[in-house]
Amino acid sequence: MTRVLVAWCPDWPVTAVGIDAAAAGAVVAQGRIAACSAAARAAGVRRGQRLRDAQRRCPDLVVRDREPDAEGRLFEEVVAAVAELTPRVEVVRPGLCAIAARGPARFYGGEEALRVLVQDAVVEAGHDCGSGVADGLFAAELAARSGDGGVVVPEGGAAAFLAPYPLSVLDRPELADLLRRLGIRTLGDFAALPSGHVAGRFGPDGALAHRLARGEEPRPLAPVRGAVDLSVRGDFDPPAEQAERVVFAAKRLAVELHEGLAAGGLACVRLEVAAGFADGQVLRRLWRHEGLSALAVAERVRWQLSARQGAGDEAVWGGVTWLELAPDQIVPDAGRQESLWGRTAVTDRIARAADRVQALLGHRGITRPVLVGGRGPGERIVRVPVGDLAPSGPAEEPWPGRVTGPAPAVVPGAPPSAELVDASGATVVVSARCEVSAPPAALVLRGRRAAVTGWTGPWPADERWWDADAARRRARFQVTTDDGAAYLLAVEGGRWHVEAVYD
């Protein structure tokens, strides 16, 4: 049985979004409380509560959206503090990390000494922390949470330590509910059941929970070496006025970066290029890397600089004072399989052009259309920036009320407003029962009036009525005018606009 030390930072999601530990605060995910601070808990806020209920119990609750990225980033500080004591740290999840306790405990003079040392190190790094030592990760986590700042559970005492805990700590609500109805309320009761019967009745997941409850290990620790900073940086003194000088240095830095990556058998998916200017501005951009040569990296630096040069004039330029290349998303270098027959050459050609346009206009400047599901012609297209993953939407499901027939040739992003009037000059209105007040006679668009030669509608579309913010209720019409044009019009809240033009 491995001895495991767990360092646990309470309410980590709340800490990560910057809510003060003393204040009543909570983070929400999908409208429910994901975590809350101790003060909020004292006021009756609980995990999984609806935000509304939480705010009723604690009116001055500070609420933030959950930020998993920030949680992971900030937790690096804690991991670094623990890694000062012992190098191999496993991050179980942001807020919880574990180390194998046997070796360090011998070195630092006992498990209790190690526990206090780890706790102090994390508190010194500026975060509240509990730490516990026990047999196995599960017991160690509970040991870290118990008492005032955690306890050391003696070797072989895990089952006894776990016995009084309720079944909810297993984090298996369905199993806990079933066991409760069978009259089993604590881990001790559950552990007392014969394991063969548990496996027969509750399946492999139940057997795993049973092993946990008995203080046995479901899996061994898998510590990884802390990430090494592989980024490279070059300074310019005096500031580099010409892009050439920066690009030349970039080539050298790229070689250095690639050597660093290759030494660890690593490759990076993306590369962040940051250039600092004399006027204090920093220009950062992520580039796809995936096996670029040093020359290609230098070329991307040039594009990035040229975008800046083109945007402002030379006076703002001021010169580059430093340049940093940082690998992002490091993966083991498994080698790349070049495809045959020049396909790579072409994708390279397109990717190069797209990268150049993105350097000019920003990441969202050049997009690829993806067909998705929807009713209106504008809703069925999503524009995805080149390099991003396309959404996998329900494309083929039936969309009752979708506009059929040939698709319109012009679909403006922001539909221009229009006026559809009847013979007497009054605006055509559609009643709640989808009755048209009078046949339309003329369409006024950008001040120009055209007689209506044919029309059809209304085609009502009442969408997302369950969501007050996104709800849309409109009626569509197709209209042809005497100048040969055809339009898809929509009336929403009494106002007409041109949703698309059949040009």
Binding site: G342, V357, R368, P377, G405, A407, A409, G454, D503
Partner: protein
């Protein structure tokens, strides 16, 4: 004699099918050579310019090229580009690159794309300057990329040798309060130095009821006058027509 041989050779070269940028089959009769000349500039104007742009993009994007790597199109400065309609005409949306708002960097964007794609549908947001026109025309010629111009400034591009427009457009399917748009009959006309004279034209469904582009055969083409100079199908006199006998081919 060498002059005559040269003339003969040049005639042969002219009539030989050149490498062209493909278009939709329905548009082939309209375009000289049955396709777009690589590196040429095409002007689209008037009512229906958007549909013509879609049709040109669809024609290129429909084919992946001989090795499955071509058929990329760029659309610059046309935020309302009807991707769905282009897909209906046969375009592959995964081979489209859209730059909706190039702003005043549009010449640089077109220059970057011209090296990579086969056709760029461009709506210049301003009157193109002489330097930009020279630079982009030269780049397009060099890389064999077709520039299709649309919008208010499409006519201000010198050196446009081919212009396409729609005439006699009539929508089908809409009644007085009933029906739905099912298709449009148009006459597509090509004019300019590449289509000399009164130009070439064809009657098309643009779009047809299923969103594609196809020839409109419901209206008979007007009869053409044929010169009375000789027989329409001259046959060498005295030579009997070759008739193959079934026994000789060993079938019977």
């Amino acid at each position: 004699m060498p002059e005559a041989a040269l003339r003969e050779l040049s005639a042969v070269l002219d009539s030989a099918p050149r490498e062209t940028v493909p278009v939709l089959p329905a548009l082939r009769p309209v375009l000289p050579g049955g396709g777009l000349r690589p590196g040429s500039v095409v002007g689209l104007g008037g009512l229906g310019a958007a549909s013509l742009g879609l049709a040109l993009v669809a024609g290129v994007s429909r084919h992946g090229g001989t090795d499955g790597t071509g058929g990329w199109c760029g659309v610059v400065g046309v935020p309302g580009f009807g991707v769905l309609a282009a897909a209906g005409m046969g375009a592959s949306p995964e081979r489209l690159l859209l730059v909706d708002a190039p702003g005043d960097r549009w010449p640089d964007v077109v220059a970057a794309l011209a090296e990579a794609v086969e056709l760029i549908l461009l709506c210049p947001p301003e009157r193109p300057g002489a330097a930009a026109v020279r630079r982009l025309s030269a780049l397009a010629r060099k890389h064999g990329c077709v520039l299709a111009l649309t919008g208010a400034f499409a006519r201000d591009w010198p050196g446009t040798r081919l212009r396409l427009r729609l005439d006699e457009a009539a929508w089908d399917g809409l009644g007085d309060g009933h029906g739905r748009l099912t298709g449009r009959r148009v006459q597509v006309t090509a004019e300019g130095r590449d289509a000399p004279g009164a130009g070439r034209s064809a009657r098309l469904w643009l779009p047809a009821a299923d969103g594609t582009v196809r020839p409109d055969e419901t209206v008979r083409r007007p009869l053409e006058l044929v010169s009375a100079g000789g027989p329409v199908h001259p046959r060498p006199s005295g030579v009997p027509p070759l008739v193959r006998v079934a026994e000789e081919e060993g079938i019977a």
